[in-house]
Subunit: 312 residues, 2 copies
């Protein structure tokens, strides 16, 4: 009888780990360091060892464990293989096969942004929905597309790479991906600062913001204080993100969009700016999609990873 | 033992019908008129009657039939219900439930553009692929998204409404959907003519085309004859469609794009223009997606509908 599973979220500095009941109750969570030296060869053994130690500590039998889900910061295909994960030092690696050998459990893998989306649809802001899209506005712009309760992994593990949706030829410079005009250039934490600097350069104006040293938080604080320039930046941010999400809606028609990541800490004000343009640009039949802020925070990854090994 | 199934494609004028072996071999196809009068109340009984007559004619037992799949020209949800299908005279209608009662068979329904996509991935240009996107460039621009061998229906039956992806604020006038800047305004058969007229109005120039009375075919013929203006129109068409499909790729990361509909009869020249901009705009990881022309033509709908009732 399977009662438990593990959800693992591998980051560049720490590995977040969770022990769950298969109904989704989080029983314990902890972290271990991510040892990226030597091509990251210790990462999976460290995880396996931590899983097996936790079982002993809790007096759980191996037979009671449904499996181990793992989220990684990069593309991973449906077979659980990564071509290359720079943050972890990994080249080509059969992640789930190796972790299965190390633990003796069934393992399933996913991209970190994708599993966060699955987590929010399972136990977070969009619990109970089977069709949803999560957008993570952090250092970059990540995303996850969930259709019928499953992650859209994509042919090359690039499903949900919505930070690289092209939104405007006019955006100056290059995205980290090498393209020009990506959503990530103007909607991540750095992106909104980049957007504000660009707009101020094109049309200088009075503002309470210190253009040279403002942060994303400063901009949203200025929006809340009704600074005119900051509000213009928020409009443009909302236009780009609303447009990108509108085009996703015309493609997969989700019930709900979950907005997470550091930028989302500004609160519901950002939803208003996004939704205004979403409604303008999306197909009429998709306009009723809901917009909610993520609620699981940094735990979304362990929830979603755990869900990978739980059948409906 | 289930050996046969039916694929039905309901259009505004005729209903296309196909009898298939469950391995996908088309045994017989025929058409009946679509009687849209009186709220289209005869359509489903006509289809049921034609199905049952065909069984008698072929000496097939009811026990040998896996089911009946039906494609309709409008949104239809996962339960087989349509809110309203203007072309057929239908208001709210439980299409598959009614057809099940009339035939005694299991019935499954899909949107016509979506089932055409499923057909092309099952037995057409993209046979053997599980993840693909079909774009139908006809009177409008339709689409279908197939993920893991299944149609992405969407919450409101609007999955694959890719004609309503927003591509440019500058496009004059309104799309049939009420929005501005939709792909359909510039990439359907009428759309490319609209695009050419707009471009010629903005920047008049010499061309072999007769601007007042050109057709989409005239434009592609002029492209093949190296008319400069026609080639500029083709570039812009390629840019819009390449951009729209690039953003779809960054969302669902398909293996293959199938281009169908009347406009695709211009041949592989259109793929070159689309792919040029697709590669420019899409996320690096998705650039290897293949582009192919549809091969099933008007039969794509009956193939895809039939596939709806066949399990893997």
């Amino acid at each position: 009888m399977k009662k438990y599973c593990f959800g693992i979220d591998v980051g560049g500095t720490t590995v977040k780990m969770g022990l769950f009941q298969i109904d989704g109750e989080l029983l314990d969570k902890w972290e271990i360091p991510t040892r990226t030296e030597d091509g990251g060869k210790a990462i999976l053994p460290d995880i396996a060892s931590s899983v097996l130690t936790k079982l002993q500590e809790k007096g759980i039998e191996k037979e009671e464990v449904a499996g181990v889900g793992i989220g990684v910061p990069g593309p991973i295909n449906a077979e659980g293989t990564v071509p290359h994960t720079a943050n972890l030092g990994w080249g080509y690696k059969e992640v789930t096969r190796e972790l299965e050998e190390l633990t003796g459990f069934i393992c399933r893998g996913g991209n970190d942004a994708n599993v966060a989306a699955l987590g929010e649809l399972w136990k977070g802001a969009a619990a109970g929905h089977k069709n949803g899209v999560m957008v993570t506005l952090g250092t970059g712009v990540g995303g996850g597309i969930i259709v019928d309760g499953k992650i859209v992994v994509g042919t090359h593990g690039a499903g949900g790479e919505i930070g690289h949706i092209h939104v405007d030829d006019a955006i100056p410079g290059f995205c980290g991906c090498g393209n020009q005009g990506c959503l990530e250039q103007v909607a991540s934490a750095n992106g909104i600062v980049y957007l504000a600097k660009w707009m101020h350069r094109e049309a200088p104006c009075d503002t309470s913001l210190t253009i040279e040293s403002m942060s994303a938080k400063d901009i949203w604080d200025a929006v809340k204080a009704k600074d005119n320039f900051a509000c213009e930046v928020a409009e443009r941010f909302g236009k780009y993100l609303g447009l990108g999400l509108a085009n996703i809606a015309s493609t997969v028609d989700p019930e709900v969009f979950v907005i997470g990541g550091g930028v989302s800490k500004a609160g519901t004000v950002i939803l208003d700016y996004i939704q205004k343009y979403f409604v303008k640009y999306t197909f009429r039949g998709c306009r009723e999609a809901k917009f909610v802020l993520a609620t699981l925070g940094n735990d979304a990854g362990i929830y979603g990873s755990a869900k990978l090994v739980i059948e409906e």
